[in-house]
Every structure is written in structure tokens, then in C-alpha cells.
């Protein structure tokens, strides 16, 4: 194995090691911790770009990394293909931006922010990389455990209440996840996703029923994560109660659920999988449509920006579920672009909420961190003193003049992006989805038309809600001479929006990449071939 191949495991190992090393450092050594986590996240972006260029050759196969060099179906295997690499890059970019934003003040609102943040990144990356279902569960749990800590970051009554629901729901769904895995294992005798792609087409009769029920129970876990109606009621309150950078990072977590659904439906239930082919497509379609409707209604009813952003996460999940449910490669290509653009957009939106509401002089209870100590060793007194002192003296960066103009333009940018209006990437993505649906319309009939209508109408709802919120928040008479916006807060928002702009400028290569990704997803034999590699002999036993 060439040394460069070991890069595959770096997105898991790096954050783990960095988080572990930070645990032994005292909370007082803030700058060292900040430096370590920023360096780790930057490296993650670099690694993701390297992996992406490696798997994106004209005929490059997915890259399989066998831990301990055991032959594939019997041991743990990590796989990078175009989809994984894309998701890794997305997660790393979002992680870097939100973490940078957190440096403004949120990382001081409670202890151990940095290790938790990096462990969340580790879980997310692991879920994108893993090649078998059980490790998917393990990495889901790593991600969730870190997210419980992050959801509680800053403490306070509001957060504790929302987190209690969040934790209980997620523990319960993890159990469903396990039932699904156990059923699938009982029928197929494997948990390796590539092996699954090979064995599912051979099933029939009773076994097929068991497999489908296993997959359905498993999918419930993913649907809860993605926030599908009626399983997504926890999402908006939890995200709204979480600290701003944490909520923005959670945007990628709901996409982990979508990723798992795309991966599983392509590998085990694609057109090539015999009797099991496309068994859940109508459910995905119906669930996605209901989620979009619920999200659109929630968005129109939302009185807070956090409610709008939460509803947008739901709409985005709904759109992606519908697109996956069509089971067609061109639609999926557009959906992947939509996934990237909507995640970046909603992430920027969550980061924008705080400065915009501050500018409009809205006191948000949840925005204020709790001062009571939770654990003995928190040294919250120390942290809080710093917190308040720096509130006054504005240690990081200068206050930007013409704040309202900047905030306003960022807000409009976000609104266009989320509503899917030209000229931004949201428009291109929706256009690609609808174009794919129109070309496949003869086979889809009314379902296709309903989906197209739902996508357009949810965009309209987004636009209405954002316009109303914008008028209420930005066109208010300013009483203070100048609202505060720090450079360290403005930069990540700017970077996220610039990434969306880059998606438009580079629309040609980006769409080509998404098309290739969708094409590769609909060719599970290629994925299975790369992972299982029949030419490869089991390693020689050393006696």
C-alpha cells in the first residue's frame, strides 16, 4: 500500500488525537487549544481536497483502506469514493468556518468546547468514510455523544430542556438502528456495505421481507437524523436553543442522515439489486414531500430567524429525500449540488442570526450563556470573567463600520441562496433537480409534477419568510450609533457565502463532478469491486 493511501484514515485519526491531547491541557491555555483545533480543522480541509482529487480521475475506482490489512468482508474497511470525499470536504469547510466564528466568544461560554467540536468532526468524518453498517452506527454514536455535549454548551434552562428531548430521542433511535443492523445481518450474514450490494440481489421470498423490514427500521434512524416528517419535530427547537456556531455545525449532522440514505439506497436497493430494487422509493418520495410541506408551513409561521433556519433545514432534507426517491441519476446529481449549496447556505444563516439580532437589539435568552458552574473543575468564574471583559474591550479585531450594510447584504445573499433564486448556487441546484425530473417525467407522472411543484413552492415560502424577517430586522430605525460586528464573526460568514459563489463561478466542473458522483452511485458493482477486490489474496499468515 503506497504511503499516500494512509491519508484515508487521517480524517478520523487527526481530530481524535487532537481532541485527546487537548483534554490534558488546562482550560486556561485557551490560545493553545484554539491553535490546535484551528490547525487540525485546516489540515482536515487539506486532506479532504487531496482525497477528492485522488478519487476524481476519469476512471479512478473508490479507494478502500483495509484496517490491519485483513481481506475485505471480514474486517473493518474505510472507503473513499466521490460522494465520501465530497461530504468530507463539505464537513471540513463548515467545521473550520463555524469554529472560527466560535472564537469570537462562544468557545469561552463553557468548558471543553474544542475537544467536543473535534470529536463531532471525527464522528461525522467516520460516518462518511466507513464501509460497513456497524461502524456507521459506532461513528453515529461518536457524533451524537459529542453533539449532546455541544448542544448543552453554554448551559441554561432553555438548552437543558431542548437537549433532554434531543438526547432521549437520539438514544431511542440508536436502538432502532441496532435492530435494523441485526436484522440485516441475520438475513445476509454480512455488514459490509459492498458485500451487501453483492448479496442483496440473491435474496427472495421470506428473506427479502426480513431484509426490507430491517432496512426500513434502520432508515428510521436516518430519517430522525435528517428530520423527516413526522420524525423531525425535535430539530427546530434543539437547533434554535443551541449556541450559534453549534447550530451551524449541526447543519452538517442532518446531512449525515441523508448521506446514509443515499448510500444505502444506491448500494443495496439500486436498480441492480433484483427484487429489492427501489423498495423504499415511494416512501422516500412521500416522506420528503410531507417534510417539505411541514418545513414550508413552519417557515411561514416562524417569528424568529432561528425558526426560519430550522424550517429550512427541514425543507432541504425533504428536497433531498424526494430527489433520492426518484432513483434517477441526473436528479441525484442535481440533489448533491443542492446538498452542498443548501448546507453552506443554512450554516451561514445560523451564523448570521446572532449579529443580525444583536443589530436589531433583540435580546435572545438562549444567546446568553449561563454563569452557574456545572462541574467543579469548570472554573466558570475565570471563564466568565474573561467572557465579560472581552465583551467590553473587543479583543479580537476591530468593529467593522457600516455593519448594517454588510449584514444586510449577507442576509439578502442568504435569502437568495436558500430560496433558490438566480444567480446563486441554490438556483443552479434546483434547476438541475427539476431538469432531471422533467427528462424522467414520462416514467414518473403525477409524482414528478408534485415534486416539482413542492420544490418551487417551498422556495417561494422561503423567500416570503426571509423577506418578512429582513424587513422586521434590518429596516428598523437604528438607535445605537453602530451595531457591533467583529471581523472574526464576519470572516466565516463571508467565506461560507464566497464558497457558494465559487459553486456558481465553477458551475461547469462542479456539475460535472456531481454527475460523475451520481453515475458512480448507480454502479454499485464498481464500488463492490473496489472494496472486495477478488484478485487480492488474504495476507500470508506468519507462523
Amino acid at each position: 500500500m503506497p504511503p499516500a493511501d494512509h491519508l484515508v484514515i487521517a480524517p478520523i485519526l487527526l481530530p481524535l488525537l487532537a481532541a485527546a491531547s487537548m483534554l490534558v491541557l488546562s482550560e486556561r491555555r485557551r490560545w493553545l487549544k484554539r491553535l490546535i483545533s484551528l490547525a487540525t480543522l485546516t489540515t482536515l480541509v487539506g486532506v479532504a481536497i487531496l482525497l477528492l482529487t485522488r478519487v476524481d480521475g476519469p476512471d479512478s475506482a473508490p479507494l478502500a483502506y483495509r484496517l490491519g490489512d485483513w481481506p475485505a468482508p471480514f474486517a473493518i474497511v474505510l472507503v473513499v469514493d466521490r460522494l465520501s470525499a465530497l461530504m468530507l470536504l463539505l464537513a471540513a469547510s463548515i467545521g473550520l468556518c463555524t469554529h472560527f466564528y466560535a472564537l469570537a466568544r462562544w468557545d469561552r461560554a463553557g468548558p471543553r468546547f474544542h475537544p467536543l467540536f473535534l470529536l463531532l468532526m471525527m464522528g461525522v468524518n467516520g460516518a462518511f468514510l466507513t464501509g460497513d453498517l456497524f461502524n456507521l452506527f459506532v461513528f453515529f454514536e461518536v457524533m451524537l455523544a459529542a453533539s449532546y455535549g455541544l448542544a448543552l454548551h453554554g448551559s441554561g434552562v432553555e438548552r437543558t430542556k431542548a437537549s433532554l428531548h434531543y438526547v432521549a430521542i437520539n438514544i431511542a433511535t440508536s436502538l432502532l438502528f441496532l435492530i435494523g443492523i441485526a436484522l440485516i445481518y441475520a438475513v445476509t450474514g454480512t455488514l459490509n456495505m459492498a458485500d451487501l450490494a453483492v448479496r442483496v440481489p440473491m435474496l427472495a421470498g421470506q428473506e427479502l421481507v426480513l431484509l426490507e423490514s430491517g432496512a426500513a427500521i434502520l432508515s428510521i434512524a436516518f430519517f430522525v437524523k435528517a428530520g423527516m416528517w413526522p420524525l423531525g419535530f425535535w430539530l427546530t427547537p434543539t437547533y434554535a436553543a443551541a449556541a450559534a456556531p453549534v447550530a451551524a455545525t449541526f447543519a452538517i449532522m442532518s446531512k449525515v442522515g441523508i448521506y446514509a440514505i443515499i448510500r444505502l439506497s444506491a448500494l443495496a436497493f439500486g436498480p441492480a439489486s433484483g427484487l429489492a430494487a427501489g423498495f423504499a422509493n415511494e416512501w422516500l418520495m412521500a416522506g420528503g414531500l410531507a417534510t417539505m410541506a411541514f418545513g414550508a408551513i413552519g417557515m411561514l409561521a416562524a417569528s424568529r430567524l432561528s425558526g426560519i433556519a430550522g424550517s429550512y433545514v427541514l425543507i432541504s432534507s425533504g428536497t433531498l429525500l424526494v430527489a433520492t426517491g426518484t432513483g434517477s441519476a441526473p436528479v441525484l446529481g442535481g440533489a448533491l449540488l443542492y446538498l452542498v449549496s443548501s448546507t453552506l447556505g443554512v450554516c451561514a444563516m445560523y451564523l448570521l442570526i446572532e449579529p443580525v439580532e444583536r443589530a436589531a437589539d433583540i435580546d435572545r435568552e438562549a444567546a446568553q450563556p449561563q454563569t452557574e458552574p456545572v462541574f467543579e473543575d469548570d472554573e466558570p468564574g475565570l471563564l466568565m470573567e474573561d467572557f465579560e471583559a472581552e465583551e467590553e474591550e473587543d479583543e479580537i479585531g476591530i468593529v467593522i463600520p457600516a455593519t448594517i450594510a454588510l449584514l444586510g447584504s449577507a442576509f439578502i445573499f442568504c435569502a437568495l441562496l436558500m430560496a433558490g433564486l438566480p444567480p446563486l448556487s441554490g438556483f443552479i441546484a434546483k434547476f438541475a433537480i427539476i431538469d432531471g425530473m422533467l427528462s424522467g417525467l414520462p416514467t414518473m407522472g403525477t409524482e414528478g409534477w408534485t415534486a416539482i411543484a413542492a420544490i418551487l413552492l417551498s422556495g417561494l415560502a422561503t423567500l416570503i419568510a426571509m423577506t418578512r424577517a429582513g424587513i422586521g430586522l434590518l429596516w428598523v430605525p437604528v438607535e445605537r450609533p453602530q451595531a457591533h460586528l467583529r471581523v472574526v464573526e464576519a470572516v466565516p460568514i463571508g467565506v461560507l457565502l464566497a464558497l457558494c459563489l465559487a459553486l456558481v463561478v465553477g458551475a461547469g466542473p462542479v456539475t460535472r463532478y456531481m454527475k460523475d458522483t451520481a453515475g458512480a452511485l448507480h454502479d454499485p458493482a464498481r464500488y463492490a469491486g473496489a472494496v472486495l477486490d477478488p484478485t487480492r489474496q488474504p495476507p500470508e499468515r506468519k507462523r
Binding site: 456497524f134 459506532v138 454514536e141 451524537l144 455523544a145 449532546y148 448543552l152 448551559s155 441554561g156 434552562v157 437543558t160 430542556k161 437537549s163 433532554l164 428531548h165 438526547v167 432521549a168 438514544i171 431511542a172 440508536s174 436502538l175 441496532l178 435492530i179 443492523i181 441485526a182 436484522l183 445481518y185 441475520a186 455488514l191 456545572v374
Partner: protein, 114 residues
């Protein structure tokens, strides 16, 4: 044995699910723990039930798959136990925090007066 095991899983799951829908946080914690026990038994059962069969191959003897228990579900159960133990511990801390902050042990943080 199949009947006993399936009855056990069914009863534990039912009790766990019932407790899950109760309004007190302590009932919630116990319900989730019961459910996780039931799931662990379920995973074990999915590897097919076998009495007195070792999961590890003895090198000295010719390996006969029929005489061995499937080791994979056992490994899965071990992992699942560790994970559910950790998340339950975290849930308990959260329950205490919620009790302290809201002054009630209702899962919604407020008592509803009928």
C-alpha cells in the same frame, strides 16, 4: 429456548416502550435502559441460538462451522453495551441538571396542571 428468549425480549421491550412514554425523567432513563437490554438480546439472537458452542476457532482441531457460534453478534453486543452504558450515564447527568435548573422532573421541564 427460542420461546423463552423471544418472550423475554418481548416483555422487556414492551415495558421499556411503556416507560419511555411516561412523563417522568427517571422513568425515561429506566425505559431506555430496558430497551437497550432487549436490543442486546435481540442482536445475540440474530446470530442464531446455539448451546455450548465456542465462538473462537481452536487451531489444533479442524474447524467445523456447524459446531461454532457466530462471533460477530457477540462482538456487536459488546460494543452496543459499552455505547448504551455511556449514553445512559450522560442522560442521567442531564436529568439531574434538568431537575436542578427547572425544579421539576417532568420531561418537558414544566408541570401541566389538569
Amino acid at each position: 429456548m427460542e420461546i423463552i428468549l423471544s418472550l423475554a425480549i418481548g416483555v422487556i421491550t414492551a415495558s421499556g416502550a411503556w416507560l419511555l412514554f411516561r412523563p417522568r425523567t427517571f422513568q425515561l432513563a429506566i425505559g431506555l435502559s430496558l430497551l437497550s437490554y432487549a436490543i442486546n438480546l435481540f442482536i445475540l439472537a440474530m446470530g442464531r441460538l446455539k448451546m455450548d458452542a465456542p465462538p473462537v476457532v481452536d487451531k489444533a482441531v479442524e474447524a467445523d462451522p456447524a459446531a461454532l457460534a457466530d462471533p460477530v453478534p457477540q462482538a456487536l453486543v459488546l460494543t452496543a453495551i459499552v455505547i448504551s452504558f455511556a449514553t445512559t450515564a450522560l442522560l442521567l447527568v442531564l436529568l439531574l441538571a434538568a431537575r436542578g435548573l427547572t425544579g421539576t422532573d417532568h420531561v418537558d421541564g414544566t408541570e401541566k396542571t389538569p
